[in-house]
Point group: C2
DNA sequence: TCGACAATTAAACAATTATTTAAATATTTG
DNA sequence: CAAATATTTAAATAATTGTTTAATTGTCGA
């Protein structure tokens, strides 16, 4: 995760419709949801949803996969984790902190195992 | 943390100057930095900095304290943590996940102690 | 209290971002 | 292959956000 990608991710999440869409997908699990279902759930027009999903996908916070004539979108958990790590990086100037030094995802996986 | 405040925080971070200012403050530790030092470090005009710090402060990601004729800004670590928790909330539909279920900050503190 | 410095506020302008309606693409089913 | 459905793309408009220059507020030290 670098500055530019973090910025892109944050910008993608910094809008009501996209934030809600992302949260619905995060909570929906790896299978995700079809675009139409999301549009219904968020109560927005298909073009508006498409516009916003594009932003999330471009930031790699979500992924799309076509299945029949539906397109399923799902959250990219790794990307979300990378963003969180970026934000907490070198927190507090290296001093003791609420959260352990955010390192690589690998390190966190090990820590949590 | 609720949707509206998360959105406000994300919007505050979703801009190059503000993200960089926030990161500098996160890494500067609790004492923070005077506005002028930040402006110099970010190479922007004082009004531009003021405009952006206002956004971060309004989202409560940073705090200001006056000291003599300087105003020191510092990161609010709790606010940052709350945002992170909000993003990972109910991740993966409750299934096993990269990160343990994000609960209250209290719970995380206990977990990390 | 005057002059200098630190920072903010105001106002005008520039740039970016979101929403809408209409048209297009792709996929399934009859 | 034609009709129907799911979704995207395009184009126009509306709304929001960032930048700049100039003026203002507040604090310190001579």
């Amino acid at each position: 995760m670098n500055r530019a990608r973090a910025l892109q991710s944050l910008a993608a999440l910094a809008q009501a419709t996209r934030l809600e869409a992302f949260r619905v997908l995060v909570q929906a699990g790896p299978e995700g949801l079809a675009a139409g279902d999301l549009a219904a759930r968020l109560d927005i027009t298909p073009p508006a949803l498409s516009f916003h999903l594009r932003g999330l996908a471009h930031a790699r916070l979500i992924q799309a996969r076509q299945q029949g004539r539906f397109i399923y979108y799902s959250a990219d958990y790794d990307a979300m984790q990378s963003l969180v790590d970026f934000l907490t990086e070198n927190c507090c100037g290296g001093a003791a902190c609420l959260r352990p030094q955010a390192g690589s995802r690998r390190a966190n996986r090990r820590r949590l195992a």
